[in-house]
Point group: C2
Chain length 379, copies 2
Amino acid sequence: MLPNLRTPDGHDHACAAHCNDLPTPALVVDAAITRRNIKRMADYAAAHGLRLRPHTKTHKSKRLARLQIEAGAAGLTVAKAGEAEEMGEASADILVAYPALDPARVRRLAALARIASVRVAVDSGTAIAALAAAATAARTKIGLLIELDVGLGRTGVGTAEAALALAQLASNTEGVRIDGLLCYPGHIWAPAAAQGPLLQAVSARLAGAIALWSSHGFEARIVSGGSTPTAFQSHEVKPYTEIRPGTYVFNDMNTVQGGFCTLGDCAASIICTVVSDAVRGQVVIDGGSKTFTNDVCIPAPDSGHGCIPKYPGARLIRLSEEHGQVDVSNCEKHPRVGERVTVIPNHICPCVNLQDAFWWCEADAAPQAVPVDARGKLS
Amino acid sequence: MLPNLRTPDGHDHACAAHCNDLPTPALVVDAAITRRNIKRMADYAAAHGLRLRPHTKTHKSKRLARLQIEAGAAGLTVAKAGEAEEMGEASADILVAYPALDPARVRRLAALARIASVRVAVDSGTAIAALAAAATAARTKIGLLIELDVGLGRTGVGTAEAALALAQLASNTEGVRIDGLLCYPGHIWAPAAAQGPLLQAVSARLAGAIALWSSHGFEARIVSGGSTPTAFQSHEVKPYTEIRPGTYVFNDMNTVQGGFCTLGDCAASIICTVVSDAVRGQVVIDGGSKTFTNDVCIPAPDSGHGCIPKYPGARLIRLSEEHGQVDVSNCEKHPRVGERVTVIPNHICPCVNLQDAFWWCEADAAPQAVPVDARGKLS
């Protein structure tokens, strides 16, 4: 009945020995792997003179955020105002990498800006006006990073000229301060060795905007980029001054299948109980879409809903809300009803977001419940 | 800036007039539509002599469960022990339509069985033994429904003989009581008018098991079935004594696109703010996969991640965690940055599960926050 998360490279999760009594599904986090992941990224950033500002959307935990700060992170990244308020307790330097502009959100961010450094990424005059009005009303200032779209096509202005226009607008607006540029190269899932040309294109877009700004008297003191798949190649994007990877703290099947880490670097996994084997060639585990989410594995969309290291032939092929159907027809042996199996999810961030707490597992110690402080902070 | 959820059949959500100040994304529930949905199902069940036992996974709210009970529901259905504990406060008659068997779960269910009627659906001897041991230790009894697979291929024994074998096993086991049979026809998404032959097959499977049980002295006092798509055809499955629909309380794009209700029957929707229009032909709303989930619309898998009634040409084509990318290239007019838009999700159940509370909207009254009591009850 051991969860038995021995990865192919021989690492035994600390969780394996002490998690037999946890109610399932149990999100367990190996402390040693987490610390190693945190240190590796901090060391990389330090070696290349980059400030590290981890995106806390992955763990949503103040305790984990403090570990990242202690390891050298310069500040924290969030998406929502509620996350900013929580993470403001772990760091006094918060970046909202999200175009916050609705009235409730800008009011809360302005309140936080009275006691912490708050910067917000924007791509519209509407957002600048909303943030400026809230900051002015709160008698504070909010820093702005103008977001430049570098290929994802999600948010961010498309041209250096548009980035300049927003900088000019902001420079004439009370309550806000232009601090630099931000991009999110989330479209890059190429293997690290093949990222060169893609990252050169990112560099060129940023350099163009920086040059245009400079010719009009604007300085991009901060140029913020990064994402876990591109994180360890960030030094190839010369304009970057800081990076914002998130998933690296835990990793998941997205980062494994993308070739950005090994299974042994996956710190977070979910222990499930097999609850049925009534249908031939299949077992059912007690985690479904309300545990794993229906996020596909981006680099391997046909690989199912997660990896079960102990049963390499097993495939988690279908989720309903509380059931995970595992095809075991290609397994020599398969788990029995009542057995516990450990699953590494496709995308760890939304899985953590479904939990009130995760189990923090140090070697030879009972697991500790760590609150997911910013869970449910949707606005 | 009105959310403006006027549906094509002319209904204005109660939410429309009073929700302008809610922080977005805001899950709003129209009280009148909800009550109408609850009454319609209760009336249908009463008219056909069926007991109604709503699955509370959809709303996870004791307040909504009490409305269902007040409208005539005979008891409540849940999937997990934590849900059973919460819903045990709304009804003393709880069915766990899930093969609960791990130690923590059966212990909690046995504790609840001391103060309420608790029945559990099982499909293995392991589950029977685990529940029996826990019930015996708690000096109580747990009722069992043997689950028969009627075509979904998820859980449930495949033959009448296997159902009989489990009944025989249970009848020789202290702590449990055989109460009947359960099935889940979740494979049936055919339009109501075309469900006849599929439901006849369900009837035949159930009738076969009932006859075999009868010839061995076992009575299926309860025969539990149902699901929202088949709910209003449940009278065609003669063996049913009760049904367990869940989604009908709110409805969603799954039930609309399946032809089981109209947009005007959708009680729950999510108000979002447009946060970016920097990319041509697209706007971005402040709800992503952490608000809508990546569940596809089962009857219309290419329809995107939800419906925006006010902008019929708009398609919510891509979600990241906190961003929803809306293709507006086919819209004559499109929402501007800062505007609020209302979205009906594909699958409402996991969306509710992401919220601590939803906004309950009576006509001409300020929205009230209703806690999602059983959110996060994964075990």
